[in-house]
């Protein structure tokens, strides 16, 4: 408590006298004192910093990753809380993908190489766990092999594509696992590809997504739980977890999570030239709605956020910035779209799908729903900018693509045998099919409360109705939404499939929408191709799509690859299995320069637009400088 007093004296004078003067405040203070006594039990961890608080000059406030109360930091959970989930603060990936250059940046791994039958990774010899033990190839192999043993782990699906993960020493020999080895441990990891499903792309994706866990700690713990993962999952890992990252969990409550710098981080020497991060604490406040993050950002309470901040140009006056200082402000990599259910009429009809694609006013969506944060949408599934641009063919899109064109939409409807009937006030009454029967209303599902998606859906529905397609919004509880998506309980449904930039783009975007693997009827869950496109058991199955999807990952010849992508994209445009609507960033990145300078931006592009801790964005923590007022 001694620290408390010294910190209290640092309180601004105004505040102190304010407290002293007002009797009501004094009463309140007593009440609050009692209150925090009540809260004591829960704030055990918070009590560690003895109420001293986080000094502004050494603290970075980030948001956009944690929306509910933190529950667990267990790295084996599929969805642990920030900073463990998808962050490099505590546990680290082998490599980090740079979405601007398309290169992999070393982290735990010093280098990697792709061979015909395998992918090989060499670990940084300096990589250490915070208990001083080295990060070994055994750790890497163990992390991946857990996925073979426990099918519910996120890493499990990779084993479709892997034959084995082997830990080799310099000499290329396997050495027996020794949990406490500090020397002579293996540093080479060989990922042997499954010859039948050769796909180095998914392995590369995993190398930059999977966080490595310490075998010497986890293995005995798991054994102590009898190997029962469900039991193990109950461990919270909220105290003194062994990890390799530059930060450690400091405190957490329902209002915020904080991490603190680990001054003994191995990478300070090995990767950052002996420098330690300039930021001591990174705090993630948990607010209750999206707009509160915007308020906090423009008031300088947040330093960076990964939330959707509409009309950022209005907030620029208050110091909120994004990657670009003018339109479109952000770099896009994802494609929110309407997934189409191919098992429900009238969506089975390609003319109907193309009519929809011609009907939707993409400009309104871009300008109103996403504040104009992207380039105008072009047809197809390949991004016409950035790293994917090389696979994009303008000629193809001109020839086969669909654009906003109500007249062509009406023509497609006619071609499909559909006749819309409008009322006297111009409102669509119903759509009739060839035989004069009413076409069932197409409902567009989206979760309630997701404001940008809601706007997108409203505009889409409005423009579809305008040309004569009987569509309606159907906003459902988020809890009902996901189930509907996977079980195919929808006509059209909002989704942003496979959004994160990764080495496997754009292949993985095509794959998640069009693969026929694990094809399941409506009612059963499908986590890919939720629209049940191209049913292999149904007439009209196009085996060519699966063939292309299987072959692309192992193609090495650029010309061959280009041709394959062109073909795939043309198929997509012709059949329009789904309806892409707009481009948007995978993760938004806004920042305020009020307290920290040298944040990456288009003008200072030393890192891609990512918040600190998020993949390569981690490196920002060494580069930014506190603003001295």
């Amino acid at each position: 408590m001694t620290e408390t007093c010294s910190v209290a004296s640092k309180l601004p004078r105004g505040t102190q006298s304010f407290v002293r003067r007002v009797p009501a405040v004094r009463l309140l203070r007593t009440a609050l004192a009692l209150l925090s006594l009540l809260g004591q039990a829960d704030c055990r961890r918070d009590a560690d910093d003895a109420g001293g608080g986080f000094p502004r000059g050494e603290t970075f406030y980030v948001a956009g990753w944690q929306w509910g109360e933190p529950a667990s930091f267990n790295p084996l959970l599929s969805n642990p809380d920030w900073p463990v989930s998808t962050m490099n603060f505590v546990y680290e990936t082998l490599l980090m993908y740079d979405s601007i250059t398309g290169k992999m940046v070393p982290l735990l791994a010093e280098s990697y190489a792709t061979h015909a039958e395998s992918v090989e990774v060499t670990l940084n010899p300096a990589a250490r766990w915070n208990d001083g033990k080295p990060v070994t190839a055994w750790d890497v192999a163990y992390t991946f092999e857990l996925g073979k043993r426990y099918k519910s782990l996120n890493i499990a699906p990779i084993w479709q594509y892997l034959k084995a993960v082997r830990a080799l020493n310099e000499a290329g020999k396997e050495v027996p696992v020794e949990l406490n080895a500090t020397e002579g441990y293996p540093r080479r990891v060989v990922f042997e590809l499954n010859a039948e499903k050769k796909n180095p792309l998914v392995v590369l994706d995993a190398l930059q997504a999977q966080r490595i866990i310490p075998r010497h700690v986890i293995e005995p713990m798991l054994a102590a739980h009898g190997g029962n993962l469900d039991d193990f999952d109950k461990l919270k890992f909220d105290k003194d977890a062994v990890s390799s990252g530059p930060y450690k969990l400091f405190s957490y409550s329902s209002e915020k999570i904080a991490v603190v710098r680990d001054d003994n981080y191995w990478g300070n020497q090995a990767l950052h030239g002996g420098k330690r991060p300039t930021v001591k604490f990174v705090v993630h406040p948990i607010y209750k709605s999206n707009d509160h993050f915007s308020i906090a950002l423009q008031q300088g309470r947040l330093d960076a956020s990964s939330t959707f901040v509409p009309r950022i140009w209005l907030k620029a006056k208050k110091g909120v910035q994004s990657w670009l200082s003018k339109e479109p402000f952000f770099l896009s990599s994802a494609m929110p779209m309407l997934i189409v259910n191919h098992k429900r009429a009238p969506l089975t009809n390609v003319h109907m799908r193309r009519a929809m694609a011609f009907a939707i006013n993409y400009k309104d969506i871009r300008e109103l729903a996403v504040s104009g944060y992207s380039e105008p949408l072009k047809p197809g599934l390949i991004l016409p900018f950035g790293l994917e641009q090389k696979y994009f063919s303008d000629a193809d899109t001109q020839k086969y693509g669909t654009w906003f064109d109500p007249e062509r939409a009406k023509a497609e409807l006619k071609a499909g045998g559909y006749t819309p009937r409008f009322g006297a006030d111009g409102e669509l009454l119903e759509t009739l099919d060839e035989s004069g029967r009413k076409v069932p209303t197409v409902f567009v599902k989206s979760p309630t409360g997701w404001s940008d998606w809601e706007s997108i859906v409203r505009i889409s529905v409005k423009s579809m109705r305008a040309v004569g397609i009987d569509a309606r919004e159907r906003f459902v509880d988020a809890s009902l939404f996901w189930n509907a998506l996977f079980e195919g309980d929808f006509d059209l449904i909002m989704n942003t499939p496979s959004s994160a930039p990764s080495p496997s783009k754009p292949w993985s975007r095509f794959e998640i929408l069009m693969t026929t693997q694990d094809f399941a009827p409506l009612g059963d869950k499908m986590y890919k191709n939720m629209g049940r496109f191209n049913d292999p058991k149904a007439p009209g199955y196009i085996p060519r799509i699966d063939e292309l999807l299987t072959r692309i990952p192992s193609m090495t010849d650029e010309g061959e690859l280009l041709a394959a992508y062109h073909e795939l994209n043309v198929i997509f445009m012709q059949l329009q299995p789904d309806l892409p609507l707009v481009y948007r960033p995978d993760a938004f990145y806004e920042f305020s320069a009020k307290h920290w300078s040298n944040m990456p931006s288009a003008a200072n592009p030393y890192l891609p637009p990512l918040t600190p801790g998020d993949r390569l964005g981690t490196n920002m923590l060494w580069a930014i400088e506190p603003v001295t007022h």
Partner: protein, 356 residues
């Protein structure tokens, strides 16, 4: 047997009715959230299933279903399956039996959304904030409202003509509108007070002067947003009660007899106050409901938000836990006021004795 102790008998009688109310409320608490066809495990699955293949997702789903008692288990603890191999879901009735059993043991179960956190843990962390925001607001607002209402009724004239429409207006403004207005004007435009949160992001709850100062500063807007409305509503009620009392024979008679004005005022205030006590109990009852919107507008920590997210995510154990807590609080508040009014009000005291 208890006839010699009418007050005790009255209390026991009321307690009996409250207990019945409680039982029914508990049942409603259980069944109401389960009316919809949403399944909380689907929500969990949505969070965890990204990237899982179908087979492993199914396995994971079953382990969750098992944990939350949503599937029937055979004696050896394995999931029972129907002819198609799908797990057999438990009936609502057996879930209810399970819930009652657990509640009796004081076990509220673990949350689904914040798995594996215990419901009691979550409530314990959130409740103090809600109480700290709502309790003083309601109690002080009630007191001030009553004093103002009584004054307006007694003084009439300009004071009443000014106060009464203001109070009416205050009670007509929906709490959330007022809250939004406060955030907009004082939080965002003028930046006099923080717009978001319960205390400075750089602090943690502790018994330090710094924290308390910060929490008090953050308290101002949420407090005002509820306080003024409570004052308005209570003042109106008290004013009309007092005007009614002023017109009664005993006040006229006392005036004729020349009883001291302060004494008349005291009696009048006491008599008018009693019905207002019931209003206080009801206000305490709507505490968590009211807290919900306030907490949402100000991102203020507390139970209301926990309830809302739980409801949106179909987190049954948390919903049931929270509503159980609310029900118990309201019942206790109403019960105490019932008893208190019975003890304070001579008219009701007499009625208790005659049993009518």
């Amino acid at each position: 047997m208890l006839n010699q102790y009418p007050t005790l008998k009255h209390i026991l009688g009321r307690a009996g009715w409250y207990f019945v109310t409680f039982l029914v409320a508990v049942t409603i608490n259980f069944f109401l959230p389960r009316l919809g066809d949403a399944n909380p495990v689907d929500t969990m699955m949505a969070k965890v299933s990204a990237g899982l293949d179908t087979a492993s997702a199914k396995e994971k789903e079953e382990s969750y279903l098992k944990e939350f008692g949503l599937v029937e288990l055979d004696p050896s603890g394995h999931v029972q399956r129907d002819a198609q191999g799908k797990p057999v879901r438990t009936t609502l009735a057996s879930q209810f039996a399970n819930y009652v059993g657990m509640s009796l043991r004081g076990d509220l179960g673990s949350s689904i959304l914040q798995h594996p956190k215990r419901v009691s843990e979550i409530i314990k962390a959130a409740l103090p904030w809600t109480l700290a925001l709502q309790l003083p607001t309601i109690v002080f607002g009630w007191l001030l409202g009553n004093v103002l209402g009584a004054l307006a009724a007694y003084k009439r004239g300009v004071f009443d003509q000014l106060m009464y429409p203001m109070a009416l207006l205050a009670s007509a403004i929906p709490a959330f509108c007022f809250g939004i207005l406060l955030v907009y004007v004082f939080g965002i435009r003028l930046e006099w007070f923080p717009a978001v949160g319960g205390y400075d992001d750089g602090l943690s709850p502790a018994l330090s002067r710094q924290f308390i100062a910060s929490a008090s500063y953050y308290y101002v807007l949420p407090f005002l947003s509820v306080f003024l409305i409570v004052v308005g509503g209570q003042a109106i009620g008290m004013r009309s009660m007092c005007i009614y009392e002023l017109g009664t024979d005993y006040v006229k008679y006392a005036k004729l007899l020349g009883v001291k004005e302060s004494k008349i005022l005291f009696y009048m205030f006491r008599n008018a106050m009693l019905p207002q006590l019931t209003g206080l109990a009801l206000a305490l009852g709507t505490m968590v409901g009211g807290a919900l919107i306030t907490e949402m507008i100000f991102s203020y920590p507390g139970l209301g938000m926990a309830v809302l997210t739980a409801i949106q995510g179909n987190d049954y154990p948390l919903i049931t836990g929270c509503t159980l807590l609310v029900t118990v609080t309201v019942l206790i508040a109403n019960f105490s006021v019932d008893i208190l009014v019975g003890i304070l009000d001579p008219r009701i005291r007499a009625a208790q004795r005659t049993g009518k």
